[in-house]
Subunit: 234 residues, 2 copies
C-alpha cells in the first residue's frame, strides 16, 4: 500500500474505534510520507506534505495519550492470587469472561516469547480471544527480541500472523529489548495484569497426564492476577 492508502485506512480504523490499528497505520503512513518529502524538490508541495504529516503525528500522539490515560484511570475489579501448585487457572477460567463480543483490539505486552511452551501459551490466548471476541480485528504484541535466535522467533511470529490474517485479524509485532512489565489490554476497557505474564503454568510431569491439553489441570507457579476496568479506548 502507498502512503495515501495507508493513511486512508488509518482514518477509517480510527473512526471505527480500532485505534491501536489506526495508530500503527498513522506511524507507517507518516514514515512513507517522510520518504516522499525527502525526494521532493518542489517546496510548495513539501509544505502541504509537512502539514499533513504534522496532522497525522498529532493524531497518533492523541491515541497514545488516550491509551495511556486508559491504563492509569482503572479501578480494580478482581484480584486473584494464584498459589504455588494450585490448579484451575486456564486463561479462560481466570479472565475468559472479559474477552467478550465488545473487544475489537488487544494489546499484549509479554516480554518472553522464545521457547516452545511460550509460543504455545500465546496461541492458547489467541484461541480464546478468537473464539470469544467475534469483532476482534487487531492484536498488537510487544515482546523482547530473542537474543539467541531472532530469525526463528520472527519466523514463528510470521506464521501466527498469516494464520490470523486468514481470519481477518491483523497481528502487529513490536520488539522492545527493555520490556519488563506484562499486561493484556482489551479495547472493551479491561486490563489484565499477571505478575508472570502468560507463563505461569508448570509442565505436566510425567508428560502424559491430565493438563497436557486442558490448562485447568496444570499446576501453576505462584503469581497474582489483577483485573482493572477503565473506559473503553474508543
Amino acid at each position: 500500500m502507498n502512503a495515501k492508502d495507508i493513511l486512508l485506512k488509518a482514518v477509517q480504523c480510527d473512526k471505527e474505534g480500532r485505534i491501536l490499528e489506526a495508530q500503527n497505520l498513522y506511524q507507517d503512513g507518516i514514515q512513507l510520507l517522510m520518504d516522499v518529502v525527502s525526494g521532493e524538490t518542489d517546496k510548495a508541495k513539501n509544505r502541504v506534505y509537512m502539514e499533513r504529516i504534522k496532522e497525522y503525528i498529532d493524531r497518533a500522539e492523541q491515541i497514545k495519550l488516550r491509551v495511556q490515560r486508559h491504563m492509569e484511570s482503572g479501578e480494580i475489579v478482581a484480584s486473584i492470587p494464584i498459589d504455588e501448585n494450585s490448579t484451575g487457572h486456564s486463561y479462560k477460567s481466570l479472565f475468559g469472561k472479559y474477552l467478550n463480543g465488545d473487544v475489537k483490539e488487544i494489546l499484549l505486552d509479554e516480554p518472553y516469547l522464545t521457547e516452545r511452551y511460550q509460543f504455545q501459551n500465546f496461541i492458547a490466548l489467541l484461541e480464546l480471544a478468537v473464539k470469544q471476541c467475534k469483532k476482534l480485528k487487531y492484536v498488537r504484541l510487544v515482546t523482547k527480541p530473542d537474543p539467541k535466535n531472532p530469525a526463528g522467533q520472527e519466523s514463528i511470529l510470521r506464521q501466527i500472523k498469516d494464520d490470523l490474517l486468514q481470519r481477518n485479524i491483523t497481528l502487529a509485532v513490536k520488539f522492545e529489548p527493555s520490556l519488563h512489565d506484562r499486561k493484556i489490554i482489551l479495547s472493551n476497557g479491561y486490563i489484565i495484569k499477571i505478575g508472570r505474564g502468560l507463563h505461569f503454568f508448570k509442565p505436566t510431569n510425567p508428560l502424559y497426564s491430565l493438563g497436557l491439553c486442558d490448562y485447568d489441570f496444570r499446576n501453576c507457579l505462584q503469581t497474582d492476577v489483577d483485573i482493572c476496568r477503565t473506559k473503553t479506548f474508543s
Copy 2:
C-alpha cells in the same frame, strides 16, 4: 489385595452400579481363588471354594450380557457427519453434553494408542471426562498392543493410570491384538461411535497456528459420529 478383599470390593462396586469395575474385580478374584484351590488338598474346603467361584463366574457373565444388551438396544439420538477439513469438532463440541454427572464408568475401545498425538487425544478425552463427570470412578480402555514398542506403550499407560488414581479413578487397560471397532460407552446409557475413533484431527500446519491447544480450531479428517442412547448399565 487377597481374593477375599477383591471379591468383597467387587460385590460393593456391583451394588453401587459400577459394574464394569465389578466385572474386572470378579475376574481377578476368581483367578486368585482358582490358585488357592489348586494348592488346597482338603476336598471339603475345595468344594466350598468351587461353589464360590461358580457364583462369581455367573455374576461376571451376567454383567457381560448386560453390557452387550445395552449396546444392542440403542436408539440413535444424533448422527454428525464430519467433513474433510471442517473445524469445530473438539470432543467437547461433539459429545461433551453426554459426559455428565451421571457417568460413573466409561468403556473405551480405541485400537490405536501408540503415537504421541494418539496419547494426547486420549488425555484430551480423559480431561473432558474428569471435568464433567464428577462421579467418574472407572475407565476401561481396550486397545491393540504396540507391536514395535510394547514396553513404551505400557509405561505411558501406567503413568496415566497413576495420574487418574490420584483422582480416585481406576484405569484398567486390556490389550486386544485383533480389536477393530471404536466406541465410547458411558454408564449413563450413551454410546458414542466415531468411524475413526479418537483420531480424526489433522495436525496444525504450520505447527504454531490456532488449533495447537484448542481442538475446535483443528481441521478434521472425514468421519461420521453416531450417538446412541440405551438404558443405563446399572
